[in-house]
């Protein structure tokens, strides 16, 4: 395995003007990204999540050469993104959910052709990649429609294709499913999953939709206030924050004796003991069910997966996440903000 993305102590400071009364303004520096360390290996599918303003997009923009870091170092495909921006651009693909990278007035087909010239892709490679995307993303019905007339879902499928036609080593997806209907979301997810399964393309995905994360990524990096607060699997996140799978059983008769199952704790007992809920804490669901079946007759059973949204919400609220982070809550007023309100609730 080789390392595709390396960031050490990566930071980005923005200067905001703080308004005091009518005229007095003072400048103040806010760290949007505050010392991010991250290594991504080739072929990984990484979910990069965090609340609004946590620094997700800013990190991505430093990795793609759009923003100049204020400190630390970042290398993508062994290149420094800003100084080697044009060279790096040939090795990465970028999709912004909120911003089109296609040409508004051109049909998709012509946009794709233009990209072939821009990235200097040999015609046969280009054709092969386009054929694959056309099949997987159902592009054929709107390939000759100008981009401005496409629906959001169609456009996003076009955007993803456009980002892949030059065969990038890394694909950055910044909220690719935002605003999409369920079918389009599934199409995009299915495609990204397929891409990840190939193992050649590294994918970095930022999203607000935690379903994207559950379906797609094995590794999850959570960022808040510009810092990485979790880096690991979804399961380790659940473990760390005490959210566990639950087994709910309906019994024919309530258990006579005390309910004692090692490796699981009784979370609830309802309907006079007819319905029991166990939180798994070290024991597998199957084993627990087997043990229960040995002492009682089961009428029904279900396994409840932990709700990732709850975990993430708890993570964002968790007070110990960044003890020395700057106290930005409710103090800073961005001078040129639309409503002059605080940047963070």
């Amino acid at each position: 395995m080789s390392t595709v993305i390396e960031a050490y102590g990566l930071r980005k400071d923005f200067t905001v003007r703080v308004r005091h009364g009518r005229l007095r303004r003072t400048k103040r520096t806010v760290a949007a990204v505050d010392g991010v360390d991250l290594t991504v290996e080739r072929g990984e599918l990484l979910g990069y999540i965090g609340p609004n303003g946590a620094g997700k997009s800013t990190t991505l923009k430093m990795m793609t050469g759009i923003l100049t870091p204020s400190g630390g170092s970042v290398r993508v495909c062994a290149m420094a993104p800003v100084p080697q921006r044009r060279r790096l651009a040939r090795h990465i693909g970028v999709v912004f959910g909120q911003r089109s990278l296609l040409w508004w007035d051109l049909p998709l087909r012509e946009s794709f052709d233009l990209l072939r010239h821009i990235y200097r892709v040999p015609a046969d490679e280009h054709a092969a990649r386009l054929r694959r995307c056309r099949g997987l993303l159902d592009l054929d019905e709107f390939l000759d429609t100008p981009v401005r007339q496409l629906s959001l879902g169609q456009r996003m499928r076009g955007e993803i294709t456009a980002a892949l036609l030059h065969g990038p080593e890394v694909l950055f997806l910044d909220e690719p499913t935002i605003g999409l209907d369920l079918l389009s979301k599934q199409a995009v997810r299915g495609f990204v999953a397929e891409l990840g399964a190939g193992g050649d393309t590294t994918v970095v995905l930022t999203t607000h939709d935690l379903n994207d994360i559950e379906r797609l990524t094995r590794r999850l990096v959570v960022i808040d206030h510009g810092r990485v607060v979790h880096d690991g699997t979804l399961e380790s996140l659940h473990q760390r924050y005490g959210s566990t799978r639950q087994v709910v059983v309906d019994l024919a008769e309530p258990l006579a004796g005390p309910v004692d199952m090692p490796g699981a704790t009784l979370a609830a007992s309802e309907a006079d003991g007819h319905r029991l809920t166990f939180a798994l804490d070290g024991v597998g669901a199957g084993e627990l069910v087997a043990r229960l079946a040995a002492v009682a007759s089961l009428r029904d059973l279900s396994i409840v997966e932990p709700d990732i949204e709850d975990v993430i919400a708890r993570l964002y609220r968790s007070p110990q996440r960044a003890p020395d982070s700057p106290p930005v809550t409710g103090e800073i007023v961005v001078a040129d903000g639309p409503d002059g309100g605080p940047t963070r609730p």
Binding site: T68, R86, V94, R99, A123
Partner: protein, 264 residues
Amino acid sequence: MANPYLALLRAQTRAQASYRTSFAVDVVSSTAATVFDVVTVLVLFRVTTSLGGFSVREALVVVGLSACAFHAADLAVGEIEKLRHYVRTGLFDTVLVRPLRALPQLLLSNVPLRVLGRVALGVVVLVVALVLAPIEWTPAKVVLTVVAPLAGAVFFGAMFVATSTVTFWWIESGEIARSLTYAGRDLTTYPITVYEGLFRRVFAFGLGFGFVAYYPALALLDRDDPLGLPGWLAWMSPAVAVPAVAVAALCWRTGIRHYRSTGS
């Protein structure tokens, strides 16, 4: 495989052509605006026979040189004024993720073909002025007739780019950037002798606008400078264009590093 920049230019030309009617209206209206520039000068000469010491036929040479230089620059880089929009909305991101130079990419995505009419009109005005004016042609003057508008165009182009970069530091920079370039252009339309003191010193000599049309026109017309400066200043237009381009390039490179990518 086509050059990527040419491919961009071709694509955006096709895109503009997809709005054929509005394109035709654009060409006509923007050309009409230039006609007014010429008419303004002619109207001035209805109330006076001499403008800053120049007859109407001489003054038209200045108008023609200035118009050719400015409109050629406007065609090539005029759409840089869109930069403000690109930076404010964060659209500039889309420029930076491509494996192409940012400035040519931005310009080629927005070449205002409607300005072609103005460039053509500028050339017509210059040719007519050169025919009407009392010029004794020499090989050097022929060269100057070609070099001066080109150097002037480069100079205006550099002004456009340099002033537009203000937006990287100050997103709400408004029309300040353009007003500087347009004030300079207005200055080049007339003999600089019509302007007074400080304004003339700052724009004509400090910023170099005087070398775009006025001094080359003096040389073509074999006139001495009423301000008493030497005749070789006619050839200064390339000399001021080069540092102007250097300053513009520096502003651009520094500006890009300050891009904040606002909006998501």
